[in-house]
Symmetry: C2
Subunit: 334 residues, 2 copies
């Protein structure tokens, strides 16, 4: 009998098909290539002139926009939003509009033509996590920008267009509806219980163990109880923290270890799947709070979102999270 489960963080119901218990091998998909396509790459060292000028780089004394870097952040060449101008909020009869002000940047995670974050050394993943932190700390000074989404589309079917490993950020002039909903639900939980819902999840799940994928002293990786997608995995800090960008250097080092471990487990269990990764964190201009807890969500591209999901916001997940977690836990590498 299928089961309906409610995600306590978003108040969203999900249908979990407990009958079918689909295994990794039941999903038809194309692995993300491990060999480069051979076409010209604007993200490789030496091709710095082919990207917009960098807004951040980690390098040992070499000049900006020249080789010699370990990581670069550049504006997206085809940005979804523009950084210059005023919002000009206005009505159009009953409708509302504003100018598309915001930032859209690309984090180039390595000077070498590596195709997957999971194949990077831990130090390069740590640099990426530090760049996320540094860019949010910079962008929060722009009072027009109310939210920054840090994310990664890996593999063509997850929306990737350049194969050289990279992440993105989009800074927005409004707090997105989905983020605001999560903040509101977590606030309601806190008002009712006087505890953070994520802290409660960490406590209950580490005790139960069945949905745990990996653990360190600072972080827990798990399959969420009401996972929308097969092999959906969240990584959250054990200690309460609302803002990602306040994480310390050693914490980000620890995070790099567990993130690499999870990505390698996914690559092993699902044969190099495409995936989306995103960070949910408190809006950077808001103060630290007791009710929200930043976390990473990783969603392999295995199922298709169709009319039912679009119309209802309900998801049908053919793989119970207990099964996903078990497959990933057992996927050797750690």
């Amino acid at each position: 009998m299928p089961e309906l489960r409610k995600d306590p963080v978003s108040d969203r119901w999900v249908i979990i098909s407990t009958d079918r218990a689909r295994r990794p091998s039941d999903f038809v998909r194309k692995p993300v290539p491990s060999e480069p396509s051979g076409s010209f790459c604007p993200f490789c060292a030496g091709n710095e002139s082919q990207t917009p000028r960098e807004v951040l780089s980690y390098r040992n004394g070499t000049a900006a926009n020249s080789p010699g870097w370990q990581l670069r952040v550049v504006p997206n060449k085809y940005p979804a939003l523009g950084i210059e101008g005023d919002l000009n909020r206005e009505g159009e009869g009953l409708f509302d509009r504003m100018q598309g002000i915001g930032a859209h940047e690309v984090v180039i995670e390595s000077p070498d033509h590596v195709l997957s974050m999971g194949d990077l050394p831990e130090a390069a993943i740590e640099r990426t996590l530090c760049a996320f932190r540094d860019r949010v700390r910079d962008l929060r000074n722009d009072r027009r920008l109310r939210y920054v989404l840090l994310f990664k589309n890996h593999g063509e079917s997850a929306g990737m267009t350049v194969e050289h490993t990279h992440s993105q950020l989009i800074a927005l002039p409004v707090v997105p509806k989905r983020v605001q909903e999560e903040l509101d639900v977590c606030k309601k939980y806190f008002d009712f219980k006087d505890r953070c819902v994520f802290c409660d999840i960490v406590r209950q799940e580490t005790k139960a163990g069945v949905r745990i994928v990996a653990e360190t002293d600072e972080f827990v990786a798990l399959a969420p109880y009401a996972a929308r997608f097969p092999f959906e995995t969240w990584i959250m800090p054990r200690r309460h923290a609302s803002h990602y960008e306040e994480a310390s250097g050693p914490q980000l080092g620890n995070l790099a270890w567990i993130l690499r471990s999870v990505l390698r487990k996914l690559d092993k269990a699902l044969e190099r799947p495409a995936y989306n990764l995103l960070i949910h964190t408190m809006p950077p201009q808001e103060a630290a709070c007791a009710h929200y807890h930043w976390h990473i969500e990783i969603i392999p591209s295995l199922t298709r979102v169709a009319g039912f999901e679009m119309g209802t916001g309900f998801y049908i997940n053919p793989t119970p999270p207990e099964e996903s977690a078990r497959f990933l836990r057992e996927a050797g590498l750690s």
Copy 2:
């Protein structure tokens, strides 16, 4: 400069890339085949024994589950939810679950092996719309079922698995979050303005004309102001009505005409695209109301939902709805 637009029905912001104005030919996609694959079809006349037993059929005196029908509704062979049993709502520590009780049915729109609703004669589309109405009127008697989503996945990339033209319905034991949000936003608008937001949209859009795709005396088809997707099209009744299943026979006839016209325009402008179609209507057990207005949403599968959309609920639409509407208006057939 891109533009942010807010959908007044859902309170969702969308990024419209007014610079790029992508034309139908800019989208890479595989047309939905117009020739049958030749494999065995459980939905064709004569193969009634290959489906679960019908819950509704339109036929001229022949016996149930035998040939001689124009339309059949059968339970889905691989249902997402089961119809037998109790909800058994319960907690699991901080989590909430219930049994997956509900209905999952398939509307077989024609006894012939036609591959696309747009290729059906108007009378067959009208029968489908009547079957939607009749099934909702029946299912609302089951007090466990709080919502019925009527939808269609057309083409493989939209989640279709059987090529013979068919629609689906899923009846749920909770009102889905996305539907409830829309109801709440429309209620807020009504409380503020004393008018239905959809009635206001019909008035403003028919007057402006730029986003209109097609019109009849009973219905308006338009590209919504804050369309999430290129060529997204909504069809809504001109006269206020909260419940789809209360539509009259002549109204459904009129709807069949405009729906067929819109589907043929999409087939022409976008070369037989895959699409999702869904009906948003008031929860059937609730009374008629002044603030909500049922409507159809049609979403061609042209762009990919990736990390940004998943993380924020924001959408990036590369084709301004004014452009989509113009292409569809001018797509000859009517």
